[in-house]
């Protein structure tokens, strides 16, 4: 982690009542992925394959780095129209660990621009589209899933 001082990461975990295999399907099957991430997806889940998710009227893109069923998926992530944080500039790692009859899902979004100092402007352009998406597009909601 040579860039630890200049980048930031977000780590979220969630425990799911299902096997890692069942959860993994939701990471690599586009029809299932779109049920929990963004409003439309276009993915080729294999190393080098594209990752594209529309969130509101913004598009997050990158490419797959690693697809290791049923343990881990790694893809790069950035915003299509961002000069400072182009597609592929940050990395999302989703790891699945069995826990009895449940699965622990850990999502790590690394390489995010760190706030403050002269680097702060990078953060602005990176995160502003997301915020805009909240209001312009489909808000995933604070806690609850969509009632379709």
């Amino acid at each position: 982690m040579t860039d630890q001082d200049t980048t930031d990461s977000v780590v979220i975990t969630e425990r799911v009542a299902a096997s890692p295999e069942a959860v993994f399907d939701f990471l690599v099957d586009p029809d299932k992925l779109v049920r929990w991430l963004g409003s439309s997806v276009d993915i080729e889940p294999e190393p080098g394959g594209k990752f594209l998710v529309s969130i509101g009227d913004n598009v997050a893109t990158g490419s797959y780095v690693r697809v290791d069923p049923p343990k881990q998926v790694v893809f790069t992530w950035g915003w299509e129209d961002s000069a400072d944080v182009p597609p592929g500039s940050s990395t999302v790692t989703i790891s699945l660990t069995p826990d009895d009859d449940h699965t622990i899902v850990e999502l790590r979004h690394a390489g995010l621009p760190r706030g403050g100092d002269d680097e702060h402007h990078k953060g602005w352009t990176f995160i502003l589209p997301r915020l805009a998406a909240v209001v312009d597009g489909r808000d995933p909601g604070p806690e609850l899933p969509h009632a379709d």
Binding site: T13, K32, L37, V135, L144
Partner: protein, 112 residues
């Protein structure tokens, strides 16, 4: 956070933030970049300031606006929230499918 999201929903305000992210500017200077009226720009600046996205500094009668780096921490919190709610959705959707599978299995068992 809601105030920031609401403030950023408006394209002109996003443009204004972009203008003041590196340089301090007066409302008059900012207004030159837009076709809308000066009072409209002042109104937008007020919304951005209320959402803590811009800082205001007074010098004599002039007021200077600049994007607040502190606001970034709140924006990062939003990203945190985005992934948290997305993963929550993931759990709910996976478990819904598992539940449906179990129902089918149970029904089959009952039918047999």
């Amino acid at each position: 956070m809601d105030a920031a999201a609401r403030a950023l929903a408006e394209p002109t305000r996003r443009e204004i933030l972009h203008l003041v992210r590196d340089d301090e500017r007066t409302a008059g200077d900012i207004a030159k970049h837009f076709a809308v009226s000066r009072p409209a720009i002042s109104q937008h600046l007020r919304v951005l300031a209320d959402a803590d996205l811009v800082a205001v500094r007074s010098e004599g009668t002039r007021r200077y606006y600049r994007a607040r780096p502190d606001g970034l921490a709140e924006l990062r919190d939003w990203l945190d929230g985005f992934w948290t709610s997305s993963l929550r959705r993931l759990a709910v959707e996976v478990e819904r499918d598992e539940w449906d599978k179990k129902k089918v299995t149970r029904k089959k068992t009952t039918d047999d």
